[in-house]
């Protein structure tokens, strides 16, 4: 089993390395920003102290005209440790923190071609929200 706890500065290199391995892009400054006090940045740690995964989110009000909701910005699980409930444990821990802040809605954005992460959030009970995301490629 894993332990869920708030991320610390000493976790950043492992977080950044896991994310870079899975996405192919290193973004250490972005993860550093997630340690800001208004954000919820949690890690799952194995009993040997290794990073099993992490989740990051924040309560935001009136983004795109919507009342306060807990936003899930990122979640990553070490591929070797998947299918063991690590992702669900992280999600539930983040949701519990959101609830403490008084919000009753969780929100995220997902690449519609990424069926794995889409299935994960669906399995947590998430459904299509009220917004449609639109993009414009600038010349």
């Amino acid at each position: 089993m894993v332990t869920i706890r708030p991320a610390q500065a000493s976790d950043l290199s492992a977080i950044s390395a896991l994310d870079a391995r899975l996405t192919g892009v290193g973004k250490p400054a972005y993860w550093q920003d997630m340690l800001a006090p208004e954000r919820h940045f949690l890690v799952a740690e194995t009993d040997k102290g290794a990073l099993a995964g992490f989740i990051a989110g924040e309560v935001r009000a009136w983004e795109f005209g919507q009342p306060a909701a807990g936003w899930v910005f990122a979640i990553q699980i070490d591929p070797k440790l998947r299918q063991r409930g690590v992702g669900s444990a992280l999600f539930e821990a983040l949701v519990a923190r959101f609830k403490e802040k008084g919000v009753t809605r969780v929100r995220t954005l997902v690449d519609r071609k990424d069926h794995l992460i889409l299935s994960f959030f669906r399995a947590q009970g998430m459904v299509a929200g009220p917004s449609l995301q639109l993009d414009l490629e600038l010349p």
């Binding site: 889409l118 299935s119 669906r122 009970g125």
Partner: protein
Amino acid sequence: MKLQTATRLGLYAVLELAREPERTLSAADLAERFGVSTHHLAKVLRTLGAAGLVRGGRGAAGGYRFTGNRRRTTLMDIVALFEPAPGQRAKEPGEDTEIGSALQRVLTEIDEIAEATLRSISLETMLKPAR
């Protein structure tokens, strides 16, 4: 979104059988439950059987049971057995015109969202009690 009758029956049958994988139900049981002819449902069950999702059904009273993987099978896997794949769709008249291709881009966008939704919902997720 409109699904063909066979697709809808395929989804009903798989979900009904996957709800209790140990249980067997005959084509007649399932047909009665959904208010359709046994003949129509038997055809749907043959397609599901060929895909390895259900097994059984010897004789009129033979029972079917679910043999797929609830966590791995998505709604899209079942829909794809009965609906033509987007790429295999015959070209509609006028599609090559400027207006036709602009309209096609909008329809493709809708199809992609529908497919992403169907592909993201496993039978396990679908059968989980609503919280």
